[in-house]
C-alpha cells in the first residue's frame, strides 16, 4: 500500500473507490503526520476527533454507495474561514477563542462534498503578510530548507500554514485565500500548486474579510489536477454574497490532458522586475520554452502599468481593511480589554487585539480614506486599478494565457525581511496585478533554485476562463516534472 500521506487527491479518490484503504486509515495517517510535524506550526487548531468522525461517516456513506466529490479526503482549512463549532481566529488575538455558529459557504460546500476536516491552518494575522510571521499564534515553518544552510525559512503568506501543511504531507490539500497573492506566493515558496480563481467564483460569505474587492478563496494542492478537483467543490453563486458570480461553472478537470497546440501565451516584459532573482528569470525562460515545445506560441505582450499595481494595491487593500476590521471593537465577540470609558475600551481592545502589521494597514487605510487625501490616494488607486484591468483585457484579445514568475525570490529565512517592509511587500509584485484585475491565476512548481528551494511559475487567463488556465497549467506541470520533496537535500 502506498504511503497514505503521499497520495494526490486523484489517487486517494481511486484508492478509496477501489477499497484499497478506508477514509479512516487515510485520516489516521494524516493525524499522525500532523502530530509529528507540530514544529512546523502549520495548524492553529487541530481537529482530530472531528476528522475521525468525518472519516467514519464517509466510510459508511461509501459502503452505502453514496459519496460526494471530496468524500473521505483529509483536508485542512485556512483559519480565515469561519467553521461552525470550531475556533476561527484569523490568526489574531482579537478572535482567539471565537467559535462561530455558522459555516462559511466554501467550507460548507466542501463539507457537503464529504471532506474530512483535519483542522484550521495558520496564516498571517487577518491574512495580512507574505511570510506568515504576523500570526498571533507564531510563525509557520517552511518544510523546505536551503541546501546551503539550516536556517528555518518562511512558507510565504498569508496562506502559509496551508502551504506548509500541503507540502509537508500533513493533508491532501488545503484551502487558501488570495487577496494580493496569498495563495500563489506561499504555493511557490513551498513547491505546491496554488490557484486563485476569478473574483466572484467563490462566495466570500463566512470568510473573515480582509479586502472585500480582492479576497478570493482557492485550492492549495500538490497537483494541478487536484486543484481542479477541489475547486469544483468550492465554487458557485451564493445568494448571500452579491459579488459572487452567476456565470456557469465548467467542469474544470475536463481540460486536463489536452494539448495546447496553437494557444498563444503572452510574455509580459514588465514582469522582469528589478531585483528579481536571475534564477527565476531563467526558469521563466525555461517555462516559455516548455510551452513552445508543447505547441503553444509565445507572444510578447506589454502591460506597462504593471509597475503601478503594487502601490495601488497597498492603497486599496488597506483602505477596505481599515473599514472591514472596524467591527472588532470588543463589544459583541472576541477580545475585549478594560477601559475607563468607551474610547479607552476601543483603544485598549484594538491595541491588544491587533498585531503590528494589522495596525499598520489599518492606519494606512484610514489615512488614504480621510478627508483631503481620498482623491489623491483612493480614487487615484481605483483609476490605476481600472487601467490595469483594461490592459489585461487588451492583452487577452491576442493571447490565451500569460506566463510570469509567481514570485521575485525563493523562500527567505525567518526574520530576514522583518525590517524591510518594502522588500516584504515586493513579494506580491508578480501576483498583485491579476488580483487587482480580478483574474484567475495559478502558481505551478517548476523547478528548484541552486540552493535547493522550489520556485513557481504563474499563469493568468482572462476572467472566468479557468478552463484555459488549468489546460496550460497541466502542460506546464507535465513539462516541469517537478518531483522534488521537502526534506530531501539535493
Amino acid at each position: 500500500m502506498a504511503n497514505l500521506t503521499d497520495l494526490t487527491i486523484a489517487e486517494a479518490q481511486a484508492g478509496l473507490a477501489q477499497g484499497e484503504f478506508s477514509s479512516k486509515e487515510i485520516t489516521e495517517a494524516h493525524i499522525t503526520a500532523i502530530e509529528a510535524a507540530r514544529d512546523l506550526n502549520a495548524f492553529v487548531t487541530e481537529t482530530p476527533e472531528r476528522a475521525l468522525a468525518d472519516a467514519e461517516a464517509s466510510d459508511k456513506r461509501r459502503a452505502g454507495g453514496d459519496v460526494g466529490a471530496l468524500d473521505g479526503l483529509p483536508i485542512a482549512i485556512k483559519d480565515l474561514f469561519c467553521t461552525k463549532g470550531i475556533q476561527s481566529t484569523a490568526s489574531s488575538h482579537m478572535l482567539e477563542g471565537f467559535i462561530p455558529s455558522y459555516e462559511s459557504t466554501v467550507s460548507s460546500k466542501m463539507v457537503d462534498a464529504g471532506m474530512v476536516m483535519l483542522g484550521k491552518t495558520n496564516l498571517d494575522e487577518f491574512a495580512m503578510g507574505s511570510s506568515n510571521e504576523t500570526s498571533y499564534f507564531g510563525p509557520v515553518l517552511n518544510p523546505w530548507k536551503r541546501s546551503s544552510d539550516d536556517q528555518s525559512l518562511v512558507p510565504g503568506g498569508s496562506s502559509g500554514g496551508s502551504a506548509s501543511a500541503v507540502a509537508a504531507r500533513l493533508c491532501l490539500a488545503a484551502t487558501g485565500t488570495d487577496t494580493g497573492g496569498s495563495i500563489r506566493q506561499p504555493a511557490s515558496f513551498c513547491g505546491i500548486v496554488g490557484m486563485k480563481p476569478t473574483y466572484g467564483r467563490c462566495s466570500r460569505w463566512g470568510i473573515v474579510a480582509f479586502a472585500s474587492s480582492l479576497d478570493q478563496a482557492g485550492p492549495m494542492t500538490r497537483t494541478v489536477r487536484d486543484a481542479a478537483i477541489m475547486l469544483q467543490s468550492m465554487v458557485g453563486f451564493d445568494p448571500k454574497d452579491t459579488t459572487s458570480s452567476e456565470m456557469p461553472v465548467p467542469d474544470f478537470q475536463a481540460m486536463l490532458g489536452q494539448d495546447i497546440k496553437g494557444l498563444k501565451i503572452g510574455i509580459p516584459s514588465e514582469y522582469r522586475v528589478e531585483g528579481t532573482d536571475p534564477e527565476i528569470l531563467a526558469l521563466w525562460d525555461q517555462g516559455v520554452k516548455w510551452l513552445e515545445d508543447a505547441g503553444a506560441e509565445a507572444v510578447e505582450v506589454s502591460l506597462p502599468r504593471t509597475k503601478y499595481a503594487l502601490p495601488a494595491y497597498y492603497i486599496i487593500a488597506p483602505a477596505e481593511a481599515s473599514s472591514n476590521l472596524a467591527r472588532y471593537d470588543g463589544m459583541r465577540y472576541g477580545l475585549r480589554a478594560d477601559g475607563e470609558n468607551l474610547a479607552e475600551v476601543y483603544e485598549n481592545t484594538r491595541a491588544e487585539g491587533f498585531g503590528n502589521e494589522v495596525r499598520r494597514r489599518i492606519l494606512m487605510g484610514t489615512y488614504v480614506l480621510s478627508a483631503g487625501y481620498y482623491d489623491a490616494y483612493y480614487i487615484k488607486a481605483q483609476k490605476v486599478r481600472k487601467l490595469i484591468a483594461d490592459e489585461f483585457s487588451a492583452a487577452f484579445e491576442t493571447v490565451d494565457a500569460i506566463l510570469t514568475p509567481a514570485v521575485p525570490s525563493a523562500a527567505f529565512a525567518h526574520g530576514e525581511k522583518s525590517d524591510d517592509l518594502l522588500g516584504m511587500y515586493l513579494n506580491d509584485v508578480m501576483t498583485v496585478p491579476a488580483s487587482l484585475a480580478g483574474l484567475p491565476g495559478i502558481s505551478v512548481p517548476a523547478g528548484l533554485s541552486s540552493d535547493g528551494l522550489p520556485l513557481g511559475l504563474q499563469l493568468i487567463t482572462k476572467a472566468f476562463d479557468e478552463e484555459t488556465l488549468f489546460r496550460v497549467a497541466d502542460v506546464l506541470e507535465q513539462s516541469a516534472g517537478f518531483t522534488a520533496r521537502p526534506g530531501e537535500k539535493a
Partner: protein, 486 residues
C-alpha cells in the same frame, strides 16, 4: 410691521431659512441588508441576524423591497429616479453600530431632485424642493438607564431601512416646516412606504436652521438632530431661530454646530461643534455592487402608484363638488380619505363629507380614537346617509341612530328597525292622523284660515306627538296645508 414669515428683532426683521432631513423607516418585512424582521415592540435583540451583529465574514445583501419603496417614494414626489446608484460606507465607531460603519448612499443616491406642495392654514400653497432621497441602514439603540455603570445595546433597529429625504433650504418658518412634515408624512402613508409614526421613531427629523436679513447671503446654520414629532420640530426651529437672532444682535456670531432639542424645556442645546465633527471616510462599499435599475422596473412601480393627496383633492373638488376646505381635511390622511371614499360610494358625497368632518370627527376626537378604530365602519356611515336620502329617517333621527351606531357598531338599518325609528311616510296613514289633529283644534283651524299660517306648527306638533316623532315631517306639512286649505 413685521412681514409675513419674518421674525422681528431689535435690529429689524429676520428671515429664517430651514432645510429638513427626514429619516423615514421604510415599510418592509425585512431589514435593508439582512433577512431579520422589523416589527416594533419586540424584545431587545430579538430581530438580529448574523449580518446585523456584524459577525466575522458576514455580507450585506440588498433587500429588493427597500429599493422598490425608495423608487415609489421618489415617483410620489415627482423626483428624478437615478437608474444607477451606489452604496457607500460611512465609518465611525459606536457600540450600537456593529459594523463600525453605516451603509448609506453618499455620492450617488437612488432618488434625485423632486418637490412637495405644502398647504398652509391660510389656504395658500407653496412648492418645496427635495434635494435627494437616499437609502441607509439605521443604527441600534444604546440604553443608558438600565444599569448605573453599564450601557446596554439593542440591535433590533440595527440595519433597518431608512430613507433620508433631504429638502432644499426652501422653508421660511416653523409653520412651513410643520406643514412640510405633515404633507410629507401624508404622501409617505399614501404610498405605503413609511407609516410615519414619529412617536415610534419610524419618522425622525433633523432641521438645519439659519437666519439672515432679507436679501443677505445665507447665514451659518445649526443642525438640530433627531426631533421626533412635528410639534417639537416647529418648537425647536422657532426657538433656534430666535436664539440665533439674539446671538447675532448681541454682537456674536453663529458657530456651526449640531444641537439637540430638549422637549421638556423647549430649548436646543449644543451637542458638538464643526471641529468635533467626524471624518466619516466615505467610500463605496466593496461588498455591494452598484444598483442598476431598468426602465421597466421603474415604470412598473409608476403604474402601481396610488392617487396622491394633491390629485385626490382636485378630484374631490372637481368631480364630487366638495369645498376646498372639506377636501383638504379629507385628503390630509390616507386613512381618512379611504374612509370617506368608501362611505361616499353611491351616496351624496357632500352629505357624507359633512357627516365625516363633523359628527364622525367629533366623536373620534372626544373618544381619542384613530379613524382606523372607528366603531362606525365607512359602509355603515354611507348607509346612514342613504337612509336619510331615501326618506327612511330624518336628519334629526339620523343623529340618534349615529349615536347608537357609535355605541354598538350596528348597521343603521338594524338600529332603525330595533328602535322603531322608521319614519311614517305612508300618506294614507298620515292623512288619518292629520284628520284627527284637525278635529282636535277647531280654533286653530279658524286662526289658520284667517291668515295665521304659523299656527300650522301646532298641528305638526300634534301629529308628531301622536306618532312619537316618526312621521315624515315634509309629508305632514304637505298634507296639512292641503287639508287646511280645503
Amino acid at each position: 410691521m413685521t412681514e409675513k414669515n419674518m421674525i422681528a428683532g431689535r435690529t429689524g426683521d429676520w428671515e429664517v431659512v430651514i432645510g429638513l432631513e427626514v429619516h423615514a423607516q421604510v415599510i418592509s418585512q425585512a431589514k435593508l441588508f439582512s433577512g431579520a424582521g422589523t416589527s416594533f415592540g419586540a424584545e431587545p435583540n430579538e430581530h438580529v441576524s448574523l449580518v446585523d451583529a456584524a459577525m466575522p465574514g458576514m455580507l450585506p445583501v440588498i433587500n429588493k423591497v427597500a429599493i422598490e419603496q425608495a423608487v415609489r417614494t421618489g415617483l410620489g414626489i415627482k423626483a428624478q429616479i437615478n437608474r444607477f446608484s451606489v452604496f457607500d460606507r460611512k465609518n465611525y465607531f459606536y457600540p450600537d453600530l456593529p459594523q463600525g460603519y453605516q451603509i448609506t448612499q453618499f455620492g450617488d443616491p437612488i432618488v434625485g431632485a423632486g418637490e412637495i406642495i405644502i398647504d398652509m392654514k391660510d389656504g395658500e400653497s407653496r412648492t418645496v424642493g427635495i434635494t435627494r432621497i437616499h437609502l441607509e441602514q439605521d443604527a441600534g439603540k444604546s440604553i443608558h438607564d438600565m444599569d448605573p455603570s453599564s450601557t446596554y445595546v439593542d440591535l433590533n433597529r440595527s440595519g433597518i431601512t431608512l430613507m433620508e429625504i433631504v429638502s432644499d433650504p426652501d422653508l421660511r418658518s416653523a409653520d412651513e416646516a410643520a406643514a412640510y412634515l405633515t404633507k410629507l408624512r401624508a404622501i409617505l402613508r399614501y404610498l405605503g412606504t413609511c407609516d410615519g409614526n414619529m412617536e415610534q421613531g419610524s419618522m425622525r427629523c433633523d432641521a438645519n436652521v439659519s437666519v439672515r436679513k432679507l436679501g443677505d447671503e445665507l447665514g451659518t446654520r445649526c443642525e438640530i438632530k433627531n426631533v421626533n414629532s412635528i410639534r417639537f420640530a416647529a418648537q425647536a426651529i422657532e426657538y433656534e431661530a430666535r436664539r440665533q437672532i439674539e446671538v447675532i444682535e448681541g454682537g456674536g456670531t453663529i458657530a456651526q454646530q449640531t444641537r439637540l432639542f430638549d422637549a421638556n424645556k423647549g430649548v436646543t442645546r449644543s451637542m458638538r461643534s464643526k471641529e468635533e465633527a467626524h471624518d466619516y471616510r466615505y467610500f463605496p462599499d466593496p461588498d455591494l455592487l452598484p444598483v442598476n435599475l431598468s426602465e421597466e422596473f421603474v415604470e412598473e412601480i409608476r403604474r402601481t402608484l396610488p392617487e396622491l393627496p394633491d390629485d385626490k383633492k382636485r378630484r374631490l373638488v372637481d368631480k364630487l363638488g366638495l369645498s376646498g376646505y372639506d377636501a383638504d381635511v379629507l385628503v390630509a390622511e390616507r386613512a381618512t380619505a379611504e374612509y370617506f371614499e368608501a362611505a361616499a360610494e353611491g351616496q351624496d358625497a357632500k352629505t357624507v363629507a359633512n357627516w365625516v368632518t363633523s359628527d364622525l370627527f367629533g366623536y373620534l376626537n372626544k373618544e381619542d380614537l384613530d379613524i382606523a378604530d372607528s366603531p362606525v365602519a365607512a359602509k355603515q356611515l354611507g348607509a346612514l346617509v342613504g337612509l336619510i336620502s331615501d326618506g327612511t329617517i330624518s336628519g334629526r333621527i339620523a343623529r340618534d341612530v349615529f349615536t347608537e351606531m357609535c355605541a354598538t357598531s350596528k348597521d343603521p338599518a338594524v338600529v332603525v328597525e330595533e328602535k322603531g325609528l322608521k319614519q311614517i311616510s305612508d300618506s294614507g296613514e298620515l292623512e288619518g292622523i292629520v284628520d284627527e289633529a284637525i278635529a282636535k283644534g277647531p280654533a286653530q283651524v279658524e286662526q289658520y284660515k284667517s291668515g295665521n299660517e304659523k299656527i300650522i306648527g301646532w298641528f305638526v306638533g300634534q301629529v308628531m306627538q301622536a306618532t312619537k316623532g316618526e312621521a315624515n315631517p315634509q309629508m305632514v306639512n304637505e298634507i296639512l296645508r292641503k287639508k287646511l286649505s280645503e
